[in-house]
């Protein structure tokens, strides 16, 4: 069943939009991004400001010390941050982790961790991919219980913010084939984190190796996380779709301004239909992407089927649309758009990486077909 939703911002969302826009306007520019991305890939000062304002804990329930807000609220933060390709681990730490943990069965260790994350004193990321970074294949980490200890061995690649997080939530395959989640402080003996050379330097990835890593048995937060993992990936797709909307908005503004100001043949290039119509296609894509993303974040907590259909639809539309728009805008900028100093390549790299990070649009369409069972 489709769900009737309001496409208009709530009061909370208007406030959030204003708050995050102010942070981004004050602290993030193409120059700060270029500088950060050649260093750690994380703008700690900006993320600290976000944590101070509490938006990192929007998705954490009030009982666990968070704001108890909805996906539509957190996704809006993603959207505004993406307007300047802000290099912060919002996706990994504030969207994926809270969604994942809160879809695991409740436990005292889980709730204690959520409280710490809500307080903002710790940053966690989810380790669940195989050794090649596949999002679809089983985790590359195995666990075995040894008395009151749990031992972890294996490799997981493409760990979002793997080098910046101090806490790893590791999805591991147990001896009896279950998927469990284990809390592993990053400085535990036997954990090696290696930064991955990435296309999009604003979203750093790492490979994490576990070489006979031992943690206490109560570090296991959940013993069957298959469905929590599914929901967490869906949350990522919804947040990325909103990021695409933010990116499309920014590209449209930047490129339209340039098309009005750049003169060739004695006219602003935006007066030529070849340029004008290309920009209008970006406008149309932005409007359409916004509809898809907003619907997906609004119905995220609804029944699984509707939430999945909406998320796969949004991802299949918004993520390629952002790529196409970024490439079209580069063409409109011409030579200047091909330079490192220009901001358009920040969007191109972010867009392309986002469109592949959780499977490509082809995968999203395949998953959508499965849910729809046409």
């Amino acid at each position: 069943m489709t769900v009737p939703v309001s496409f208009v911002d709530t009061e909370i969302q208007r406030d959030l939009r204003q708050l995050v826009t102010a942070v981004v306007n004050d602290q993030v520019s193409g120059d700060t991004v270029r500088s950060v991305m050649l260093d750690t890939g994380v703008d700690d000062r900006v993320y600290e400001t976000l944590v101070q304002s509490g938006v990192h804990a929007l998705l954490i329930a009030e009982d666990n010390g968070g704001a108890g807000a909805a996906m539509a609220d957190a996704a809006l933060v993603s959207e505004v941050l993406a307007t300047r390709v802000t290099p912060v681990p919002y996706l990994s730490a504030a969207v994926i982790i809270p969604t994942f943990l809160q879809h695991c069965e409740p436990s005292s260790s889980r709730d204690a961790l959520l409280h710490v994350l809500a307080a903002g004193t710790s940053r966690a990321t989810l380790v669940y991919r195989d050794a090649h970074g596949s999002v679809a294949k089983p985790s590359g980490v195995r666990s075995s219980t040894d008395g009151d200890r749990v031992r972890l061995n294996g490799v997981s690649a493409h760990v979002l913010d793997g080098a910046g997080a101090d806490t790893l939530i590791v999805v591991a395959i147990t001896d009896d084939g279950m998927l469990q989640a284990v809390i592993v402080p990053r400085d535990t003996t036997g954990v090696t984190v290696t930064k991955t050379p990435v296309l999009d330097l604003t979203r750093p990835l790492a490979t994490v190796m576990f070489n006979d890593v031992q943690v206490a048995a109560d570090a296991v937060v959940a013993s069957d996380v298959v469905s929590a993992l599914t929901v967490a990936k869906r949350a990522a797709l919804v947040a990325l779709s909103h990021e695409a909307v933010g990116g499309l908005n920014a590209l449209l503004t930047l490129t339209t301004a340039y098309a009005k100001q750049r003169l060739q043949f004695g006219r602003a290039i935006g007066s030529f239909q070849a340029v004008k119509h290309r920009l209008v296609d970006v406008l149309i894509a932005k409007e359409a992407a916004q509809s898809a993303a907003v619907y997906a974040s609004r119905v995220f907590a609804d029944d699984d089927t509707e939430s999945s259909i909406a998320a796969f639809t949004a991802a299949a539309y918004c993520l390629p649309a952002y790529v196409d728009a970024a490439l079209a805008c580069l063409q409109i900028f011409g030579g200047i758009g091909f330079t490192w100093e220009h901001d358009v390549h920040l969007h191109i790299k972010r867009a392309k990486a986002s469109s592949l990070l959780f499977g490509s649009a082809t995968h999203h369409r395949r998953d959508l077909a499965q849910v729809l069972a046409l």
Binding site: S271, I284, A369
Partner: protein, 400 residues
Amino acid sequence: MGGDSERAQLDAALDELCARFDPATTANETFWGAQFDAGLAWVWFPVGAGGLGFRPELQHHVNAAIVARGGSVENRLANILGIGMGAATLVGHGTPEQIARFLRPMFTCEEIWCQLFSEPGAGSDLAALATSAVKDHDQWILNGQKVWNTMAHVAAFGLIVARSDPNASKHAGLTYFILDMASDGVDVRPLYQITGEAEFNEVYLTDVVIPDTNRLGDVGGGWGVAMTTLANERVAIGGNELARGEGIIAQAITAFRALKETGEADPVFEDQLMTHWVAAEVLRLTTLRANSAASGKTPGPEGSTAKLQWAELNKAVSSFTLELLGPAGVTYPRGYTFDRPSEPGLLSTDPHHAFLRSRANSIEGGTSEIMRNILGERVLGLPGEPRVDKDVAWRDVPRN
């Protein structure tokens, strides 16, 4: 807040209407008349003109409720040029007498309307039109030729724009009229299109007399009035709210299911189907979003976005559906009948016919290229094309 109280008043009006005239059993014409009298024809129109002065998006609620109670909203398509475009033009620019005379029978479909805008020499450049209107005391004499006139062969009235001052610049010299299609000198001829049908017509006007009381808006103010019609046209064409899976995509889904049954569906077809499905779903959501945000009485440029996407979706999906049909794709079961349909068929439910008919979707109501110009200039604020005919008397502008 106004929103909730409007909704409550609307529901009360709906209940009262349906209590007096059961939508399921009342003859359509009677029901539509009562609906008009109850102010539920166009809820955003003034009281007495078929409306209640409410927010326009509430109309979708009214339409859905009438359908849910077994009634019909088919008049909106059957008389789309009147109900979808003419009505708003009349309310925006008409005299109280015109509003009182024309709106009700328009809504009940007792009087079908057509639009007489385009001409052989004025398509995308509508303002270049040449049909002349010469004032003669309290009446006007029209001469010229109009084209692409949907429903003109069944219409009682036409919305017509003509040139009242050839010495003024092209936009300034136009005047808008209501034409009684039964007038002497009006010759409606079928214009057969690529489907073999003549849904459209050519209309030849020879010394046609229109009383000045049927002028809509000021002399020389025809362009502004026409803009109201066109803005509403784009919404009427593209702005229909659908349920998921409805519209053109339904044809592709049906064809895909048939392939599945015979074991001929493959992952490539499925992926292509899903690409179209996603486009259709996203357009559906965009229409919902645009309607929920609509506030003004004249639709904004977002109407152009929806119309443009709608046209492109119909063309792409209908072409893909023929591919899914396999060998049957080369057949044309209905045949080329050379008849004159009595209802407009923007979109067909027959996939073979839809493939051909949808080609017009990116031309009728403004070409996709003109739509992109409008969006680029009015929404993005990009500079316009150089206009060599600007500030030149119309009679001095080169034309075919």
